[in-house]
């Protein structure tokens, strides 16, 4: 399979008053086309930051220090170096080619706009030409069907509208509609774009199995349950059929039965749309349900990357092993990982897991282990191999 995103030597640092936090430290990771890659790890392992770095949304005081993130997409001209793109090009990618589903659906939605308005916004931003084309068709059908006096009187207006929408359909930045959209009151003459976006929105909501989609589109976020909100957020992320969907703990705030519905939805979406998915989670059970490949992170570094079966059946890195043993499984004794999570401000030298590692060697303290391929598509960063 071909790579969709290639992350090389990515470092993200946070410059806080207490000191510099190395949130991500020289990360190498590939996301293949059409796969679901799970990123698992505990708090502070840098899994969410990896997701945010791809979209260049690292919050202040964080900074992407170095590295490269290459996004391979034929439609937008081969390989794009995301970290070097201008902000307006980046904005054309966010929500369009790469989109994101956040952990807390309640916080991801704006409370003062309806669900429909918020999803329409995606279409109005990224699919303006398409909307213009559809609006023109609608006006043209009015022109050809209209008979009688009323239609005759409206005819000049319709002709003007048809011209206006065809301009929007043709160019990315046509002068006349752009001028209109800056004038209060007059911008309402472009209402057909919004109508078309609204229709697409309802289709989108139906796609994520929301019953009575037209009614839900007119609702405000507080009127929906957690599961419904998360469905709406997923609909928003999928609106432009992205090449890559990043889901940051999308089921953490949901109940088990609703979570099961969401995981089923994610699996179906992936099969239908062929998008790649990055699934960030701390729940190993959820990861084993939806992911094809897993990347295990600890304290900003990658420990192990392999297929799901490989990770669960033959975990190689001591941290992966310890993490799997810490999950309560009936009939098995719970094993804990000794010690506490690595201090982000003063991380241990060498391999960051060495103070808690049962098989640590003197070498582990001194130098950082590199990722090594120990099997087919199975990479481990540990001196044991």
């Amino acid at each position: 399979m071909k790579d969709l995103v290639r992350i090389r030597d990515l470092s993200v640092r946070f410059y806080t008053y207490e000191g510099v936090v190395h949130a991500i430290d020289d990360l190498d990771l590939d996301i293949k086309q059409g796969e679901t890659l799970g990123i698992v790890g505990e708090t502070g392992s840098g899994k969410s930051m990896t997701a945010l770095a791809i979209l260049r949304l690292i919050p202040y005081p964080g900074k992407i220090e170095s590295g490269s993130i290459v996004f391979c997409d034929k439609d937008s001209g081969g390989e794009l170096e995301l970290l070097k793109l201008k902000e307006d090009r980046m904005r054309a990618i966010r929500g369009n080619k790469i989109s994101m589903v956040f952990q807390e659906p309640g916080a991801a939605l704006n409370p003062v706009f309806t669900i429909g308005d918020q999803i329409s916004e995606v279409f109005l931003l990224h699919r303006r030409q398409e909307l213009g084309r559809q609006a023109k068709q609608r006006v043209d059908s009015l022109l050809s069907d209209g008979n009688g006096l009323a239609a005759g009187l409206k005819r000049p207006f319709w002709l003007w509208q048809s011209r206006l929408y065809s301009k929007i359909a043709e160019g990315p930045h046509p002068l006349e509609p752009r001028f209109l959209s800056h004038l209060p009151l007059f911008r309402r003459l472009l209402w057909r774009l919004k109508d078309e976006a609204g229709l697409l929105t309802v289709d989108m909501l139906k796609d994520v199995e929301i019953p009575d989609a037209a009614r839900v589109a007119a609702h405000y976020p507080h009127e929906l349950s957690g599961g419904m909100k998360q469905r709406a957020v997923i609909a928003m992320a999928l609106a432009c059929s992205p090449k890559l969907l990043i889901a940051d703990e999308p089921t953490t705030s949901l109940d088990v039965t609703i979570q099961a519905q969401m995981l089923e939805l994610f699996r179906r979406i992936k099969a239908d749309k062929g998008a790649s998915v990055i699934f960030v989670t701390h729940n190993l059970g959820v990861a084993s349900e939806v992911c094809d490949r897993l990347a295990v992170m600890y304290a900003g570094r990658l420990c192990e990357v392999a297929n799901v079966e490989e990770i669960f059946l033959h975990p190689s890195h001591p941290y992966t092993k310890a993490l799997l043993n810490a999950v309560p499984i009936p009939g098995k004794e719970l094993q804990t990982i000794p010690g506490a999570l690595a201090d982000a401000l003063n991380p241990p030298s060498g391999c960051r897991f060495h103070p808690r590692c049962p098989s640590a060697m003197p070498m582990c303290q001194q130098e950082r282990p590199k990722l090594k391929e120990i099997g087919k598509d199975h990479m481990v960063a540990c001196y044991l191999f």
């Binding site: 505990e42 708090t43 349950s225 599961g227 419904m228 109940d255 088990v256 039965t257 609703i258 979570q259 099961a260 519905q261 995981l263 089923e264 701390h282 729940n283 190993l284 059970g285 959820v286 990861a287 084993s288 349900e289 799901v308 079966e309 669960f312 059946l313 310890a322 993490l323 799997l324 043993n325 810490a326 999950v327 309560p328 499984i329 009936p330 009939g331 098995k332 719970l334 094993q335 804990t336 990982i337 506490a340 999570l341």
Partner: protein, 322 residues
């Protein structure tokens, strides 16, 4: 009016680790809070460690079929719901609660030593030097060092804070502790540490636990007995292995099936529950689960099923148990 907990009958035996499982809004937390009398029940009775003499007297009166005022007054007298003042305080000395989120359950302006000493002070158990040594001892039992006594909650990690909350709950040497999702805000590795700590404490002090969780895997691996709640009702009770391998209530069955297990071979066999949990302010009539149940019949829509014994110690509230 919201019926958060509606007609629940449940018994926790001495020395038991009872797991209470259910989704959000099913009334698990309300039940735990009522047991330690942070809430007053609207109706119903809760009994906590009724003395054997009184128990024998009640049983004798009941078997005699004597519906005299004596029986009702005896029952009322021992009901937690009617306690007030000193009796509530005495109860709370013996029954404690550990809250869900250790980031909000500790006063940010109190030092560790004051947090743990507070129950000792309120219940006037110990004071002065004895109190200080007791606090140090408590911290030792939950695995915190005495050097951290002067620190504030924000200086501790989530796992450490939960340890502080547990130390505080154990300060008055209770016999019964209710845990309200104590590990839901914690990482997997820390969760394992806390669960092992709870196991050790239970053995050491002979405690009885009411453990609330929404994660079935935890309930199955640590609890002795499990009660599954749905919308204010207990729908099934039984031993963990029975609930997991032979669930009789359709809800427990789909809950078990919906729980993701970290094993990529076990991906199949999902029962997806349609819809969502209805609002407890306006619950459906009859069996509250019937709108989402695949086996629902007219009987389920009209009348409410009661908990019935199906096997030894396994109770189900369903007209058509699986």
């Amino acid at each position: 009016m919201v019926k958060a907990v509606d007609g629940v009958s449940l018994a926790v035996k001495r020395g038991q680790w009872l797991g209470l499982v259910g989704e959000s809004g099913c009334g698990k937390t309300t039940l735990a809070k009522t047991v330690v009398r942070l809430l007053k029940p609207t109706s119903g009775h809760i009994y906590f460690d009724v003395p054997d003499v009184v128990k024998a007297e009640i049983e004798a009166l009941e078997s005699a079929g004597n519906n005299s005022g004596k029986l009702t007054s005896l029952l009322k007298e021992n009901d937690l719901g009617t306690f007030s003042g000193a009796r509530v305080r005495l109860l709370r000395r013996r029954a404690q609660l550990v809250h869900q989120d250790p980031f909000t359950s500790l006063d940010p302006r109190m030092k560790l030593k004051d947090i743990v000493a507070e129950p000792l002070r309120i219940h006037r158990v110990l004071s002065g030097e004895a109190q200080k040594t007791a606090v140090k001892e408590l911290l030792g039992t939950v695995g915190l060092s005495a050097g951290q006594l002067g620190r504030y909650p924000h200086q501790f990690s989530g796992g450490q804070r939960q340890r502080i909350a547990i130390a505080r709950a154990l300060a008055t040497k209770p016999e019964f502790v209710a845990f309200d999702e104590p590990t839901s805000a914690l990482d997997v590795s820390v969760q394992a540490q806390i669960l092992n700590l709870l196991k050790d404490l239970k053995k050491e002090f002979g405690l009885t636990y009411l453990y609330i969780t929404h994660e079935l895997l935890i309930a199955e691996s640590v609890c002795d007995y499990i009660a599954v709640m749905y919308l204010g009702n207990v729908v099934e009770m039984g031993r963990p292995e029975e609930i997991f391998h032979t669930p009789h209530h359709p809800y427990s069955q789909s809950l078990v099936a919906a729980t993701p297990v970290p094993d990529p071979k076990r991906r199949v066999g999902r029962i997806l529950l349609p819809g969502e949990v209805p609002s407890p302010a306006n619950p459906p009539p009859g069996c509250t689960f019937h709108p989402r149940c695949s086996q629902a019949t007219n009987e389920c829509r009209e009348s409410e099923p009661e908990l019935k014994l199906v096997r030894n110690d396994h109770y189900v509230a369903c007209f058509h148990p699986l």
